[in-house]
């Protein structure tokens, strides 16, 4: 099947050309009327007195109607096509919106903010939300679809080129709506498979200082899961392989140990309003924690 984005692109091109022609026609008529009939040019002439013409009225009612009928037929065709046109998806991925981050589920394996897909493969996303309405939008992949609490919507995606795609939540969902960004990484099937296999593996328990801080007074673990450890909170993103992601906080910061430390020191500074609170920690604890998370590849 054709990527939905291409189908929409073709339709938009056709509609754009039609609209441009109508635009040019109307503006030209307007300019002509002003130029030809302005009083300074039409000094002696008396204004005409005609005030109706039934044939003209019928013509300019019927012509737009015909144009729109054609546009509507094309619309129906493209609507069917972008839904998959009967082609079954090669895989389904669950995408869940949270105030202000994304959760992606591949069967039992959960990850956040970064969606990996095999390239050139029709995929259906099952979209839902746990709180307010969000909307999944990666412009280069084509249409967007809302994520509503209590309902599941489906969106067909097909990435044609390998590489990363940028997108972001499109339905206003509260204070940090602007920083609810998505990264889609399209990979060859082999790369994708090994990525998924790596994500499925529980974290290797290091037992170091960082891990101790992570479990300290049950703060972090209250909200975060690190598979392979006792941490099983669900209020925040799964951190089992947090270091494998390119960004922190759904796009606010690039992901490296220094930035991770900065984020942990005060998430509210980078993402004011975010549901991750500032946890007061000593410098040493922060260092250890950042190193710990940085090792969760």
């Amino acid at each position: 099947m054709r990527p939905p984005a291409d189908a929409i692109g073709t339709l938009a091109l056709i509609v754009g050309v039609i609209a441009s022609l109508i635009f040019i026609g109307v503006e030209a008529a307007l300019v002509y009327a002003i130029w030809r009939y302005r009083a300074s040019r039409n000094l002696a002439g008396q204004p005409a007195t005609f005030e109706r013409n039934r044939r003209l009225e019928i013509a300019w009612t019927a012509a737009p109607a015909l144009i729109l009928a054609a546009v509507f037929v094309l619309t129906l065709g493209t609507m069917a096509e972008i839904n998959g046109a009967g082609v079954a998806p090669a895989m389904r991925i669950a995408a869940t919106g949270h105030q202000w981050w994304w959760e992606f589920g591949y069967g039992g394996t959960k990850t956040a903010n970064e969606l990996h897909v095999p390239v050139n493969t029709p995929i259906d996303l099952d979209l839902t939300s746990v709180d307010v309405i969000h909307s999944f939008w990666v412009p280069e992949l084509g249409p967007k679809m809302d994520m509503l609490p209590g309902t599941t919507n489906h969106l067909r995606v097909l990435a044609r080129r390998a590489g990363s795609y940028e997108g972001q939540c499109a339905e206003f969902c509260g204070v940090e709506h602007a920083w609810m960004r998505i990264r889609v990484v399209a990979q060859s099937q082999a790369e994708f498979d090994s990525w998924l296999a790596a994500q499925a593996v529980p974290a290797v328990t290091q037992g170091g200082d960082g891990e101790r801080v992570f479990f300290l007074s049950n703060i972090c673990v209250n909200c975060h899961t690190v598979r392979g450890t006792a941490a099983a909170g669900t209020a925040g993103p799964d951190l089992t392989h947090v270091a494998s992601r390119a960004t922190i906080g759904a796009g606010v910061l690039p992901n490296d140990v220094a930035r991770m430390r900065a984020w942990l020191a005060d998430p509210q500074r980078y993402k004011p309003g975010s549901l991750m609170p500032r946890v007061p920690l000593s410098d040493a604890d922060l260092d250890a924690l950042a190193a710990y998370l940085g090792a969760l590849k």
Partner: protein, 541 residues
């Protein structure tokens, strides 16, 4: 020497203060004053938005302030600026244009105005009471539910909109009864000026649409204050119900905001073309078609909600249909100009500007009605561009046309044409600079309602252009305000009929006496004043 008198005269001659007046002209002026004031406030909020967005990752305002700003900007412009401006002109002009001494229920008229204003004040009071609403002008649930909007902002939104809406509904009852029952002898409904026609159609739209909003607001209030579950998915409610109710109101609302402006330019264009309107019946009839259709298109705001292909296709079709009667209007206006002797006054410039800009907004509207295109650009700056092309490029330019046209009638003085031209051209340039680039921003992926964006997106330059445009637009508006104030004090004296116009409001003095007409006029055609001035070339219809 004061420009604005401190009192209004009653028919009997005694004076009453503005607070107690029930004269439709005075109430019209109050409405217009309210609209102008809130337009300035809403415009300043817009400037704040644009300033923050001028550069990527700017820190001018915090996200909460930004979210409040666009929410209040949208509500202000729509419900507290544009609607009062349109209702204000209708209040002032409709009785004059149909040869009536006042509206049907003068005291109720005052009540409408005060309710509308109080609604606005309640909304703005939220700023003092702990924070304005920050959930967007359509306040989607469940974001607007107490769980996600625990402050009082949304409660003020509910209360403000409900009270404002009650005023608007009562006003619509008043105007429709006035138009239906108080036309002077000879003024058949097929002879009323088009502005009156469109006011009547608009009133019907208000009466059908606003109650749905009130109902939705009541339900949201029950959810928030009585722990109800109308829109609460956790309690079995459905978030989409709010959207259906809101847009059942919201879509007709956009035609409520454009039809009277179309009525204004339907007055201006014939007068300055020196010709009767072309296709009166079609211009009037197409309004009815638009009104009828506009109750059946609401879900085009919800294409991405997942209603299903069948529903989406139906609403796509009805939305496209609306383009047909709208096109009929555009073509008839142009046909009115063809063959005329055009006087390109400022009023006429704005009227022509309306047509030129509205077509862009209309065509982008049709592209949004094409479901797959909408799915690509909904909730992006493309929609922001569309809505400002129709609302600013359409409605506001129409209102400016009406303002330059009727100001002399209302004040006895002409607005300065020299400043008027500056106003027009600065507006034209600033407007297109602000909103044209937003089409591209939306198409390449900039969502609406974001308080900032990453530099890596590459959206910076177009946003900067847009902000520069907004600054020019602000200068244009300052020119307009200066023009208003200066002309009020020292503008050229207008006389009763400065434009050699066609309709009854120009047959009385400027400003009109408290009782409007010394004797109630009798008419025999669509252009009563023209007939009186040119008995040899009377209109036949």
């Amino acid at each position: 020497m004061t420009a604005i008198p401190l009192w209004v005269r009653r028919p009997a001659g005694e004076r009453v203060g503005w607070l107690r007046t029930v004269d439709h002209k005075a109430i019209g002026v109050l409405y217009i004053g309210m609209g102008v004031a809130f337009f300035a406030v809403g415009g300043l909020e817009a400037l704040l938005l644009r300033a923050q967005l001028a550069t990527p990752e700017a820190g001018l305002v915090d996200p909460e302030t930004f979210n409040q700003a666009f929410t209040v900007h949208g509500v202000t412009m729509i419900l507290l600026a544009v609607v009062p401006l349109l209702v204000g002109f209708a209040n002032y002009m409709v009785p004059l244009m149909i040869g009536a001494p006042d509206v049907a229920f003068p005291r109720l008229n005052a009540l409408s105005f005060w309710l509308s204003l109080v609604g606005g004040v309640v909304l703005y009071f939220s700023f003092l009471a702990g924070g304005a609403p920050d959930t967007g002008w359509f306040s989607y649930a469940p974001l607007s539910e107490r769980a996600f909007a625990p402050g009082t902002g949304v409660d003020y939104y509910i209360l403000g909109l409900a009270v404002n809406g009650a005023g608007t509904i009562i006003g619509a009852i008043n105007l429709s009864v006035t138009i239906l029952l108080m036309r002077c002898p000879g003024m058949a409904i097929s002879r009323v000026p088009l502005f009156v026609w469109m006011t009547l159609v608009t009133s019907v739209l208000i009466l059908g649409a606003y109650p749905a909003l009130t109902a939705a607001l009541v339900m949201l209030l029950v959810d928030r204050q009585l722990s109800g579950h109308f829109f609460d998915p956790a309690g079995g409610g459905q978030a989409v119900l709010w959207q259906h109710l809101f847009w059942f109101f919201g879509h007709p609302e956009v035609y409520i905001m454009v039809l009277p402006a179309m009525g204004m330019i339907s007055e201006v264009i014939p007068v300055f073309s020196r010709k009767p309107i072309f296709g009166y019946g079609f211009v009037a009839g197409s309004s009815v078609a638009i009104a009828f259709l506009s109750f059946g298109v609401w879900a085009h705001h919800m294409f991405a909600v997942g209603l299903g292909d069948t529903e989406n296709a139906i609403f796509s079709a009805t939305s496209m249909l609306i383009a047909i009667p709208t096109g009929v209007k555009i073509f008839n206006w142009i046909a009115t100009m063809i063959g005329g002797r055009l006087r390109m006054t400022t009023a006429m410039l704005f009227a022509v500007g309306f047509i030129a800009m509205f077509v862009i907004g209309g065509l982008s509207g049709v592209s949004l009605a094409v479901v797959p295109i909408d799915l690509a650009v909904t909730d992006s700056y493309y929609v922001v561009a569309h809505l400002h092309y129709v609302l600013f490029g359409g409605t506001m330019l129409g209102i400016f046309a009406g303002a330059y046209y009727w100001f002399p009638k209302m004040t006895g003085r002409l607005l300065s044409e020299r400043l008027g031209r500056w106003h027009f051209w600065l507006t034209f340039a600033g407007f297109n600079l602000t909103f044209l680039p937003q089409h591209w921003l939306g198409a390449v992926g900039m969502p609406r309602r974001v308080f900032t964006y990453a530099a890596s997106t590459g959206w910076g330059p177009l946003n900067l252009i847009s902000t520069i445009g907004a600054a020019i637009l602000a200068i244009a508006m300052v020119v307009f305000f200066v023009n208003l104030v200066r002309s009020l004090r020292s503008g050229e004296i207008a006389g009763d009929d400065p434009w050699d116009a066609f309709t009854l409001e120009w047959s009385t003095t400027s400003p009109p006496p408290p009782e409007n007409f010394a004797t109630i006029p009798a008419v025999t055609g669509r252009r009563p004043l023209w007939d009186r001035k040119h008995p040899e070339a009377r209109d036949k219809s």
